[in-house]
Symmetry: C2
Subunit: 222 residues, 2 copies
DNA sequence: GTGACATTCAAACAATTGTTTCCAATCACG
DNA sequence: CGTGATTGGAAACAATTGTTTGAATGTCAC
């Protein structure tokens, strides 16, 4: 569909930054094309529509990520041949993959911000697109987590995984603002890897937290 | 400013639901006014602008919340006269206030979704407005948390509080989608209060997690 | 009733949106 | 070189946006 990588890439590079900064609806095609120094019609020509451009921006991150993630999980499973993979290693692997993919363009911040938007934006099509296109990787991961935390009821594990997903996406997507506050209040320069190091024990402790009192599904019926 | 509560209230009621469903930019004034069965110009007449309407929607939640929250903290401080308030009680108090405010209109979901949007939407004016208007309540809360967790370095506590803020906002603001998945996968109907009960041990465990290895600006023996 | 005020209403406003059109430039290839 | 398809660009498109206008309507004091 696109033979000229120059224009296409320039559009994608500019679009992802603007989307991350201002959201999808708040970023017009004219904003993108003028900053990217390409013609307005180029977007519709190369991508078909704004919606398709948004999905292409995501695909450029998620395609390499899921591929890398799957091979990393393959290696992990091979190393523990048949055995249970400890939760820490699973989390570590996912963190590594998330960090490696945008490292090439030094744009982890953008990547995370986009993920945050995808979840919050209530844009039906985006959530559906991501779910359908990349849901399998998440499903595989949760199944491995299930094996690593057999003592957790399925529903509890489901919710805790999403709790932690919220922690990571919220923190990393709002990183710039939070970093400013942290820096001026505690005089500490915070890099992304510092944050990940801080996140690890918190996430592990959260996943291993004691079960809540009186599970609902057992006795009460509304 | 508004003597006729009928129109103003109808606008606010409709606007908050539509904003929560579709975001701010994706919700037009014509969407709101037509569904609310009021004239288009009524919004600009009563509120001045769309931005002011958005802030009014937030104020209707946050004003009662902060008031209730401050008096709840007053009571808590009085009961522990001078002593340290345990972390669990602080979290419990905050959770209670968050739950009580929208309970009158049965709209916790809307409230949380709005909070999530406020953080993600990158709408500069909204974050600034909330920070300036209601930041004091959060500051007071964090100071009490500091007293309750003296073993935590300041920076670490700062980050963990925001980790947990992310957990709560992310989960509760995306509640509908997650609930659908949980319901069809685990056949479990999940109410908001179930979620809060699930959140409690996770948040406590996360705040009490061991410190990460090798803090950057601090020495830790062992 | 009359006047003064606040509110509602239909219409138009100017600006911006995503998308399309049409023509010139470019390129591959015989 | 010449031909034909592909890609670039300026302008126009139709639709929608937030906002404003000015007249009509309502409400209450006198």
């Amino acid at each position: 569909m696109a033979q000229q990588p120059d224009t296409v890439t320039r559009i994608l590079d500019t679009a992802e930054v603007l989307f991350a900064e201002r959201g999808f609806a708040e970023t017009s095609l004219r904003n993108i094309t003028s900053k990217a120094k390409v013609n307005l019609a180029a977007v519709n020509y190369h991508f078909g529509s704004k919606k398709a451009l948004i999905q292409a921006v995501f695909a450029r991150y998620l395609d390499p990520f899921t591929e890398r993630f799957h091979t990393a999980l393959d290696e992990l499973e091979a190393r523990h041949a048949g055995g249970v993979i400890p939760l820490e290693e699973l989390l570590e692997t996912m963190a590594r993959c998330v960090l490696e993919v945008p490292a090439e363009r030094n744009s982890l911040k953008v990547f995370m911000r986009l993920l945050g938007l995808a979840y919050s934006q209530a844009q039906g099509h985006l959530r559906r697109y991501i779910q359908e296109e990349y849901g399998s990787a998440f499903t595989r991961f949760t199944e491995l987590v299930r094996l690593a935390t057999p003592e957790l009821p399925d529903a509890e594990r489901f919710w805790r995984l999403h709790f932690m997903l919220g922690t990571v996406i919220f923190t990393l997507s709002g990183l710039d603002a939070l970093r400013d506050i942290a820096e001026q209040d505690y005089g500490e320069h915070v890099g992304v890897r510092d944050l990940v190091r801080r996140l690890r024990p918190v996430v592990v402790a959260a996943m291993n937290a004691p079960l809540p009192e009186s599970l609902p599904s057992q006795r009460e019926a509304g």
